[in-house]
Every structure is written in C-alpha cells, then in structure tokens.
C-alpha cells in the first residue's frame, strides 16, 4: 500500500526530481549490468568482465584490508563490494561465507540499501549458478523487501520479475502471473522498458501454458511493441508465431515467419533462426502443404551445431509427428530420441509429450502407458507442490512484513505510551504522595481533635448522667422515702385511716409529678404545645407568663436532643422560679438564629447570687447537658433584681 501511494506520488508529483535521484542511484549501481541472456526467460544479471579479473582481485585484497581495519562506518558497502567481487571471480564458497558474515555485522535498518543488493546478489547466485529456485526465490523476496523499505520502486519490480520467472520455470503459471502483474506496477517506464517487455513476454508465456491463447497473443504483441532490443523482438515474435500455431492460425504464423526469416539479425542468432525455420515447417505441414523432411531436418542440424538441447528435443518431436502417419517405425525412433534427451536434460514434460505420441503408435504397450501416467501424476503433484510452495513464501513474507510493520508501530506506540505513563506515574505518584501526606496529617490532627472532643463530651455526658442519677436518688430518698416512713409511723400509732390516706395521696401525687418531670420528653410534632403546657402547669397560677417566638418556630428542624435539653432547662428554671423567686412575671423568648436557637428567660423575682445558683443541682446539671451538646447557658442575676438566663444551643 505504502509503495502504491509512493509510486503515485512519483507519477504525478515531482517526477523529474525522482528521475534524477534514480539516475544517481543507477550511477551508484553502475557495477551491476543487466542484460538478457535467455531465450524464454529474460533475466537481469551481473556482468562478468573477465578482462577486469586482475584488477578485481587487486580490489578484493584492498577491500579485505579495509574490512580488517574495521572501518565500520561503510562496512556494509565494502562487504557488499567484496561479495560482488567474490561472485564475479567465481569464488562462491567465499560468497556464501561472507554473505552470512555480512548480516552479522550490518545493521539492516541502517544499511537497507546494501542489504537489498546483497540479497539480490545471493538470489542471482542461487538462480543462475546453483539452480536452486527455492533459495533464489527466497533471496529475491528479501531483497525486494529491503528495496521496498528504502523506496526503490524499480528494483522492487526487477526482483518481482525474477521471482515470476522462477515461478514460470517451475510451472507455477498462476503464481507467476500474479507476481509479474505486481512487478509491472513497480517497474518504471523508459528506465525499465526492457524489463517491462520481458515481463509481458513471460506473462504471455504463462497464458500460453494455461491455454489462454488470446491473452497470450495479446501480451506477446505488447512485448514486441514495447521492447527496444531487436534481438529480444525476434524472440518475442517467434513466441508469438508459436502461439498462432497453437491457435491453429497457420496462415498468420507463416506470414509472420516469412517476415522474420528475412531479418538479417535472426541469421546471426542460430537458436532463434532454427526455431523460426522449425515453426515455419511445422505450420506449413499442419496446413497440409506437401513438405520434404528436410524442412525439419534443417533446423535440427542448426540446433545440433549450436548444442541447443531444448531445440533438438523440439525438432525430434516434430520429426516424430511428421513420420507418425506414413512411417511409424521412423517416428518411434525419433520419439525414443526425445525421451532419452529429455531424460538427460531433465525435461519430463517433453518426455511426456513424446510418450503421448508413442502410445498412439503402440496402443498395446502397457509400459509406455504406465510411464506416461507416472509422469503425468508426478508432474501434476510437483506443479501443485511448487504452486503452494511459492504461494507460501509470498504469503509468509507478507505476514512477516505486516507483523514487522505492526511490531514497529506497536513498539513506537509502546514507547510513547511508556514514556507518557512514566511521566504520568511521576505526576500521580508525586500528587499522591502530597495528597496522602496532607490527608494523613489532617486526619491525624482531626482524629486527635475528635478524640479529645469526644472524650470531653463523653466525660461531660457521663458526669451529667451521674449527677442526674444522684439527684434522682436523693429526691427519692429525701422526699418520698421520708414521707412513706412518716405514714408507716402513723399506721403504727393507729392514726385515723383517712389521715393516712391523705398522706399517701400527697406522696402519690408528688411521685406522679416527679415521674412526669423525669419522663421522656415528647419531641414529636406536639413539642411546642407540650412544652408550653408543662411550663404553664409548673408555674403558680398567679404568676404571669409571656411566651414569644415559640409558636412561629419550626421545631421540626430542631434535633431531638436539643428539644429535650430545652424542655428540661426551662422546666428547671420555671420550677426554680415558682419555688424560690416570688416572681410575679416571667417572659420566655425563643429566637431562631439559623444554626442555633437562642432562648431568653427573665423573671422579676428576688434573683439569686451566682454562687447560690451554682449550688443548685438542677441548674448545674442542665448546664452540663447543654455544654455536652455544644451549646451554652449564661445566668445573670443580682439579689432583688430578677433573674435572667440566656441559652444558646445548636439545632
């Protein structure tokens, strides 16, 4: 994808600039010469200039010297040059050895360019010298990837072209088609014209082998149109006519061949000349023209002279065909020769074709049929194997590429994320530390404070409770216990029954009021009425009592404890007033101050000194209760000048 868009950029944007860069690249790559060397498959390969052998070995020793000095800056370049020289000098062992070494010491990310070249060199080595198509294919694939990385579109295309050629030679026509189509996308017009036409040629061959004759004709024509090389053009034209023959368009084939055979260039190229002659004879024979066997023997002779084994096989096959009608024995001899030759140069396909003809000549020969079936089966399974193998290479490679890209992306993302997280962590940690220390400190302070306060209020509450209990017990004993004791004495003395009953009734009434006094306060919705009634009832009838603000106050917003305390305090004050003060008038003001209540009490009684006030148990008790709730009570009194109290209590 990346490449695709890259090539678009090249096509439409600054094409001149790119071309300049590419030309510069070509100058750097000038040591690599490409030329066609085969008839059917057209490969790029390295020049092998023998006349430079001496200088090459001189250069090699220089390189070795340089490499020993470990000038690592341009190690990849030097190592590649060394490997190239090893190759051109035929020192293949050294090549393989230094190939491995090259990758041990080279950072492939930095030196992608030389890595690409190195792999191409190795691919070419396996392809041309070792004839190991698998290894060649692999190396070309890797080279292609490196060229992709550095953005050399042209060389990606060339690698793909070589790969496609290998696939075609291994009969993986479908795979080859695919690879070559891809190659066409990368090859650059003008600069790669030769490769482009070669590509069309091989594509056409694939189609021909797959019996898509129309497509084959189309692509051969394209190859002929695009090529600038006259010799290549001849080859393509030969291919084209062969296809026409396949397509039974003999007249067209003959016309074309007549044109070609007149070309002076063809006569120099014996191989193609023999092929043209052979095809011509074959087309004419198939057309039904009366032919001398010399028409076929002539090209065979040329082929024998030029030691073109493949060509000879083709010639023998045609001779066999030519004789099969009239001279079966001669035909059989030719086919036998084909079989022997094809076995020698390992061309099972040719052997299979010969067997096919032989079988029709000798229908009863089981051996021939068995061999034919065997060959067909093994060819089929081999083809299948090859197909899946190359597909696998390409697929694996694609997966690998994708995973590398993904990994690289993930890595950078991870690094970014990691650094971000590191920063965040530092910030968070710092913040957390800061917050925790502040929280810890404040929590500690708060705890200490609440502890202190709790303890204080707890102590106060407990004290209040103890004092209330003590007071109650004193009252029980002093008031009621005493009176009951009196009644007992009266009974013992035999006092009048009604007198005793009267006495008992007073005790009962006193206990009743005592009980009511210490009873739980009604803090519900009736609080105000209940409080007012209680206070009214407590006061002597003749004492006037003025309430202000209690009715308007929203008592539902006041806490239960506060209500209880208010009830008890006022009860105590009014009781005190009615017992000792000789007051004539009392005013009780209630004021709502948002968060707290303020209650003002005043009477016009005789008043009391603070000392005497504090001696009073009931009041001291209430003071403690109020303080336990966080409120306050202040008394203000002078003798003969009335009594005032102000209570503040949180709601």
């Amino acid at each position: 994808m990346l490449w695709h868009s890259f090539s678009i950029v090249m096509d439409f944007k600054n094409i001149t600039l790119v071309l300049i860069t590419l030309i510069l690249c070509c100058c750097v790559q000038s040591e690599v010469d490409i030329r066609a060397d085969k008839v059917n498959s057209h490969r790029t390969h390295l020049s092998d200039s023998n006349n430079l052998e001496r200088t090459s070995s001189d250069k090699l020793s220089e390189l070795n010297q340089a490499l020993r000095n470990k000038t690592l800056e341009n190690y990849a370049q030097l190592a590649y040059q060394k490997n190239r020289l090893h190759y051109s000098l035929g020192q293949f062992d050294s090549l393989a050895h230094f190939h491995r070494k090259f990758f041990l010491k080279t950072d492939l990310k930095v030196d992608s360019y030389y890595a690409a070249k190195q792999y191409y060199l190795m691919g070419y080595y396996y392809d041309q010298i070792v004839k190991d198509s698998d290894s060649a294919f692999k190396n070309y694939t890797i080279s292609k990837n490196f060229y992709e990385r550095i953005g050399d579109s042209s060389w990606v295309g060339r690698n793909l072209l070589n790969m496609g050629t290998i696939q075609k030679d291994q009969s993986d026509f479908f795979g080859s088609k695919e690879t070559l189509t891809e190659s066409l996308k990368y090859l650059q017009p003008i600069k790669d014209d030769r490769h482009i036409s070669s590509c069309y040629n091989i594509l056409a061959t694939n189609h021909r082998k797959l019996s898509n004759l129309q497509d084959a004709l189309k692509y051969y024509s394209k190859a002929i149109r695009t090529t600038n090389s006259p010799s290549d053009k001849l080859i393509y034209q030969n291919n084209l006519t062969a296809t026409h023959i396949d397509n039974k368009q003999f007249n067209i084939a003959i016309q074309l061949l007549q044109k070609i055979t007149k070309d002076s260039l063809l006569i120099i190229n014996e191989k193609e000349y023999a092929r043209a002659l052979d095809n011509m004879a074959y087309a004419q024979w198939l057309l039904g023209e009366k032919l001398n066997e010399h028409a076929f023997l002539n090209p065979l002779l040329i082929r024998k002279e030029s030691n073109d084994k493949r060509g000879q096989i083709a010639s023998y096959t045609r001779l066999g065909e030519f004789y099969s009608k009239n001279a079966p024995i001669k035909a059989k001899q030719y086919f036998d020769t084909v079989i022997q030759l094809s076995k020698a140069i390992k061309m099972p396909r040719a052997e299979k074709d010969a067997l096919k003809f032989l079988m029709s000549l000798e229908p009863k020969n089981v051996g021939l049929r068995d061999r034919y079936i065997f060959l067909q089966d093994s060819l089929y399974s081999q083809g299948l194997k090859v197909k899946t193998q190359f597909a696998k290479y390409k697929y694996d490679d694609k997966l690998k590429q994708e995973s590398i890209l993904r990994l690289e992306k993930e890595n950078t993302e991870k690094e970014l994320e990691a650094s971000r997280q590191r920063n965040q962590k530092i910030i968070y940690l710092g913040g957390l530390l800061f917050i925790t220390s502040i929280l810890g400190l404040s929590l500690y302070g708060f705890r200490q404070r609440t502890k202190r306060l709790k303890q204080k209020s707890k102590v106060e509450k407990l004290e209040a409770i103890y004092e209330a209990e003590a007071q109650l017990s004193r009252r029980l004993h002093d008031d009621y216990g005493g009176k009951i004791n009196q009644t007992m004495l009266m009974l013992q003395r035999g006092t009048d029954k009604s007198a005793i009953l009267d006495k008992l009734e007073t005790v009962y009434n006193q206990i009743r009021s005592f009980s009511r006094e210490i009873n739980t306060v009604d803090t519900g919705p009736d609080f105000w009425n209940s409080l007012k009634a209680t206070l009214e009832y407590l006061k002597p009838v003749e004492v006037e009592m003025v309430f202000d603000g209690g009715k308007e106050l929203d008592w539902s917003l006041v806490s239960r404890q506060a209500k209880t305390i208010i009830f008890k305090v006022l009860q105590e004050l009014v009781k005190n007033m009615s017992q000792h003060s000789k007051a004539k008038q009392t005013v009780i003001l209630f004021r709502d101050k948002k968060k707290e209540l303020s209650i003002y009490y005043e009477d016009d009684g005789v008043g009391a000194s603070k000392k005497s006030l504090l001696r009073k148990n009931g009041l001291r008790n209430t003071e403690k209760r109020i303080q336990a709730l966080g409120g306050s009570i202040t008394f203000d009194s002078e003798e003969q000048k009335g009594f005032r109290a102000e209570i503040r209590i949180p709601k």
């Binding site: 009743r512 009838v541 309430f547 008038q585 005013v587």
Partner: protein, 221 residues
C-alpha cells in the same frame, strides 16, 4: 348502660381492677380489656366492620414500651385515630396526667367525653364518669380546674409591633397613627387599645408592664 366497652390500660393490676369495678358496678355485658393501643384500635375497627361497634373506650395516656413492636405509642394517638374512624364513640381518659392544659387540649381537639385522674378516688370517679358519659354529659375529675385563668400570654407579630412602638415612647394614639401611615393592619385605635390592655392592664400586678416594656426597650422583643 353501655353494652360493649373496650378498656385500654397497660398495667395488668390496674387493668384488672378497672375491669372488675366496671363489670361489677355497672353491669357491662361485654368488656374487652387490651394492653396495647394497636390491639385496641384493631378491636374497634373489626367491630365497626361487623356492624357491632363498641360504644365506649376507656384508655390511659401513657403506655410503657416493652418487647412488642408498636405503631401507636400513646393514648393520644389512639384517641385521634379512633375518633376519626368512629365519631360516635364515647371516650373516657383515665390517666395520671393532671395538667389542665393537656386535658383541655384533649377535650378541644379530640372531643373526649370524660377525664378521670388516677389517684385515691380514681375508681369512684371513673364509675361516675361512665354514668355521666352514658347520659351524654362530660365528666372531669374534681381536682382539675380547667376553667381557671392561667395567666399565660403568647405574643404575636402585632403584639411585638405595638410593644416596639411603645418602647420607643409612642402613645396608643401615635401608634395607631403610625400604623395607618405605614398601611399596617389592623391599625384602628380601639384594636390597638384592646391589645395594649391585654398586655398591660389585664394583669392585676402593677409591675406587669415593666418587664415586657423593659425587654422591648432592650430590643429583645
């Protein structure tokens, strides 16, 4: 006499005593005694549904809390609900409470028919009360004086406004004039006069005015 009576009293001894007294002395045919307000209320409800309603309820005001969960916690609540459910029911309260203000409230708000204070003469009074109530009269224990003036005043906003003006040294007339000027109602001289006499003159004690007046002057009112 009443034929169907429900008695609500949480002290067992007392409950039994009352029940015996009532059945012996008044020959009440069906007397149901209950210890809890909730149960008593259910009795009333069921009887009313069956169209055999109770005619009288005798109840205490205070019920002590025990292990049984309760919805109705006081005689006051029971009375309120019973009255709402069955307006014709006669109710006599028999309680320790002798605060006339409370008792008055029960008569006014819940239209109880009799109030008997627990005490030495409690049983006698209760029997009398049932008799009186049966004849559609009310009964209140002799010891309670519900009609006596209790000398209590609760100020309202109008009172406060008048007091403030008086504390500022204005006469009744001037107060009336000021209120009229400020469009405050009521503002007639007579109304203000009435209020002032209530605050000042209703009480016999001479120092009545002084305390309120003083507080108003101090800004406390």
């Amino acid at each position: 006499m009443f034929k169907k009576v429900v008695l609500v009293e949480d002290f067992q001894g007392e409950n039994q005593g009352i029940a015996e007294t009532l059945t012996e002395k008044l020959a009440i045919e069906e007397l149901q005694s209950e210890f809890y307000c909730d149960k008593a209320f259910n009795r009333l409800k069921v009887a009313l549904k069956k169209n055999e309603p109770y005619e009288l309820m005798v109840t205490d005001l205070f019920f002590e809390k025990d292990h049984v969960d309760r919805k109705l916690t006081s005689g006051r609540e029971l009375i309120k609900l019973a009255r709402a459910q069955q307006p014709g029911l006669k109710i006599i309260v028999h309680s320790m409470e002798n605060n006339p203000i409370y008792v008055n409230a029960l008569f006014k708000e819940h239209k109880i028919n009799g109030y008997v204070c627990k005490g030495r003469r409690g049983m006698v009074e209760l029997v009398n009360a049932v008799n009186e109530v049966f004849h559609n009269r009310t009964f209140v224990s002799a010891q309670l004086n519900l009609t006596a003036a209790n000398n209590t005043v609760e100020l309202d906003a109008f009172d406060r406004a008048i007091l403030k003006e008086l504390a500022n040294g204005l006469t009744k007339k001037e107060v009336s004039a000021k209120f009229k000027k400020e469009n405050r109602t009521p503002n007639s001289e007579s109304t203000i006069d009435k209020r002032i006499s209530k605050l000042y003159d209703e009480y016999k004690a001479k120092n009545t005015t002084s305390l309120l007046f003083k507080l108003a002057k101090e800004g406390k009112i």
